[in-house]
């Protein structure tokens, strides 16, 4: 699958170097800051669960109480463990309840107390991480037992009823019809909630809330399907929005297999503060690395607001940045579901060959990553007959260019969140294309110096130019200027900035310590 584009290896190397240089300052930022959600994730790892009578999770109550007393900059691990020792409470959830009732005072331990607290905190959080490790081993076992899908790309389908109890049978039906991966998309509002809802939910808009219980229910249902089908069916959710680190943690704890997790999606498409995002990002990726979760990045989204031809190189740049951030956080290549999409205006002459050029460029730049190939959305219309055709060509481009994860397009894209029958029609489409033309990539040889090679090399050149400008100007400024998805997001604006703190001296995060210690 390599070498069809005749890319210049020196240019490819240069692109990677530039991405590292552009990303490094942001990593430094992430290493020197924490957020409320990172700290709540730490508490979840340490075993704090449940919510108060209003449905506010106890991790939120506990972090809020710590912040009220000593601020966020020291991390919550030490103050919490110190208070637990002081109060003689073994169970941190109990401590959280007390804190919620206002009956605990927090302080930052020092000296001998600090050392003891460090040890205790590390033990508590370590237990959580061990649970994640067990879940990963369990996944490995189940994959061994049931097997992986027979074909590449893996077939990825969404369910989106808003009601976990409608989602489950639909997901199982989809698996039976051939889905290898089920994604439960989230209710429109969730990304801006600064807490993770609790329990099974039935009330989402255009998606179902991501909760630990919903994760558990769906994973159990798909374990059942995996047994039935003799093929391990993967489950995906979204580690994005204000609670990205916690959701990543819950995903690790409930053995989710893939998570949407992008370095810039929240900034651009949810107007979340850039610093908040980059800090949350790094932590969540470290968790994903540990949990053996494949991440899916969100470059496809840029092409819904920007033009897919004009902005093709911004996708490449973002993929290179996502790759750098991912490696830095400990993710291996096989975990990088870098995103891209079939979003060129279908009325453009040679649009399909342009799609092939772009898709192949990503394939050859990231030969070991299971690229996530997203279907047409922007140019889908209410003409569902045309829509199904376009999806067929999307599927074809996917197999001709060796994509890793095929997000199945729906003929009703412009109309409704998918119906049961849409999914069935879509899967039939995928099956036809993969079965009938699955070997066509062998006969697909872009003419030397021809349209496809020229286009791919041109996009790579543009990407390198843009990366050079970003290195000069900083990534944060580039984001502020609307470089990605023609959406301008200044570093001092956006939601969730008040939940960010610079590390104080003595900041301690046992999770980071464990995760980085064992990279």
């Amino acid at each position: 699958m390599s070498g069809k584009l005749d890319l210049d290896p020196a240019l490819v190397r240069r692109a990677r170097q530039l991405a590292r240089r552009a990303g490094k300052p942001v990593v430094d930022l992430a290493r020197s800051h924490t957020t409320v959600s990172v700290e709540r994730a730490v508490l979840r790892l340490a075993g704090v669960t449940g919510a108060d009578a209003d449905g506010i999770p106890l991790v939120n109550r506990l972090v809020d109480a710590v912040v009220a007393d000593v601020g966020l900059g020291h991390g919550v691990a030490l103050p919490v463990v110190e208070a637990a020792t002081r109060e003689g409470v073994d169970d941190l959830t109990l401590l959280a309840q007390k804190a919620a009732a206002g009956s605990v005072r927090f302080e930052v331990p020092s000296g001998r107390a600090a050392t003891a607290a460090r040890r205790a905190a590390r033990r508590a959080v370590g237990a959580g991480i061990t649970r994640i490790d067990k879940r990963r081993a369990e996944r490995d076992r189940l994959i061994k037992r049931h097997g992986d899908p027979d074909q590449r790309p893996w077939i990825y389908l969404i369910v989106a009823t808003g009601d976990i109890y409608e989602d489950i049978p639909q997901a199982q039906a989809a698996a039976r019809e051939g889905a290898d991966i089920i994604a439960v998309i989230r209710s429109t509002g969730q990304s801006l909630l600064d807490y993770v809802p609790e329990g099974a939910t039935r009330e989402g808009f255009a998606g179902t809330y991501a909760t630990q219980e919903n994760f558990r229910l769906m994973r159990a249902a798909l374990d059942e399907s995996s047994r039935e089908l003799g093929r391990y069916v993967r489950l995906t959710n979204y580690a994005s929005g204000l609670c990205m680190p916690e959701i990543a943690t819950l995903a690790g704890l409930e053995r989710l297999d893939m998570m949407l997790n992008d370095s810039m999606y929240g900034i651009l498409f949810r107007d979340i503060n850039p610093i908040r995002t980059f800090v949350d990002q790094r932590f969540s990726r470290q968790i994903h690395a540990r949990a053996g979760i494949i991440i899916n990045t969100g470059e496809d989204n840029y092409l819904t607001t920007a033009d897919a031809v004009e902005a093709a190189h911004t996708v490449t740049v973002s993929q290179l940045l996502n790759e750098y951030f991912a490696h830095e956080a400990g993710l291996a290549d096989w975990q990088l579901g870098l995103g891209h999409a079939f979003e060129i205006n279908p009325d453009l002459p040679e649009s399909f060959r342009l799609e092939l050029a772009h898709a192949l460029l990503a394939r050859e730049l990231f030969p070991h990553a299971p690229l996530k190939w997203m279907p047409p959305t922007k140019h889908m219309t209410g003409d569902v007959f045309r829509g199904n055709l376009l999806d067929g060509f999307f599927n074809l481009a996917g197999t001709m260019t060796g994509q890793g994860i095929l997000l199945v397009g729906m003929m009703t894209e412009a109309v409704v969140t998918p119906w049961l029958s849409d999914r069935d029609i879509a899967l039939q489409n995928v099956r036809y294309v993969l079965n009938a033309a699955g070997g066509l990539h062998e006969d697909f040889v872009p003419a030397p110096g021809g349209f496809i090679q020229r286009r791919a090399n041109h996009v790579l050149g543009e990407a390198v130019d843009l990366l050079e400008r970003i290195v000069d100007d900083t990534l944060l400024n580039a984001i502020a200027d609307g470089t990605f998805g023609i959406t301008k997001r200044p570093a001092d604006r956006g939601k969730g900035l008040d939940g960010v703190a610079r590390h104080e001296a003595g900041y301690y995060n046992p999770a980071t310590e464990i995760l980085e210690g064992e990279q």
Binding site: D163, G382, P418, L420
Partner: protein, 248 residues
Amino acid sequence: MSTVIRPYGDTTGDGMVQLSFTLPVPCDKRAEGAALQLAGKMGLDPAMVVHAKQMGEGFTFFVVYGRVNHLVDLSEVVVAERDFPLLSPHEVNALVKRRLRRELVVVGACIGTDAHTVGIDAILNVKGIAGEKGLEYYRELRVVNLGSQVAVPDLVEAARAEKADAVLVSQVVTQRDAHLHNTREMSAAFREAVPADRRPLLVVGGPRFDELMAAELGVNRIFGRGTTPREVASYLVHALITQKAKAA
């Protein structure tokens, strides 16, 4: 399972359906209003015109999605359920041999100007369809396949000459109800030419027949899309042997 159901989009009871049609008007707001009026009359509420495209000068194609009000009562569903046992070739042969004590004669044809023989051949020829052998394969049946574009008088004549127990007729072309006209013509001809007690069993088949129309068309039975030879053989035995015995 409840006996009253509704269409299912993505939630139980949501009643969602998809609809497309053309109206002979140019594409504008009035046309969309007309499309909504039609959808409303069909019971869609709310209805959304999600696609409207003008074709030529005076036509517009619409795609409409919406929730349909109607309930479907399963207890009131009328179907031509198989009211006879499905037999194996072996059982069919055994019954014919034991009870009829002679070959059962089947004459088949595509009548009128219809030349689509694949369907009737699938039922009659040894090759069969969907893994089942056709009636020629049944030792105790004698099959005379007259082929395509057979005129009705020729069919009647052949049935008489062969002493057919059953006449199997295929009709695939349905434009302007060709299949209904031809079937009526055929059954009338048999009624006229052959006294009731010697009239062969009349069976028609084709992908677009309504299986409930047998009486209306003057035939004994109709088989629709996806019919298999075994169903037909079983029916023949049922109608010509088992049931007759009961009636007697």
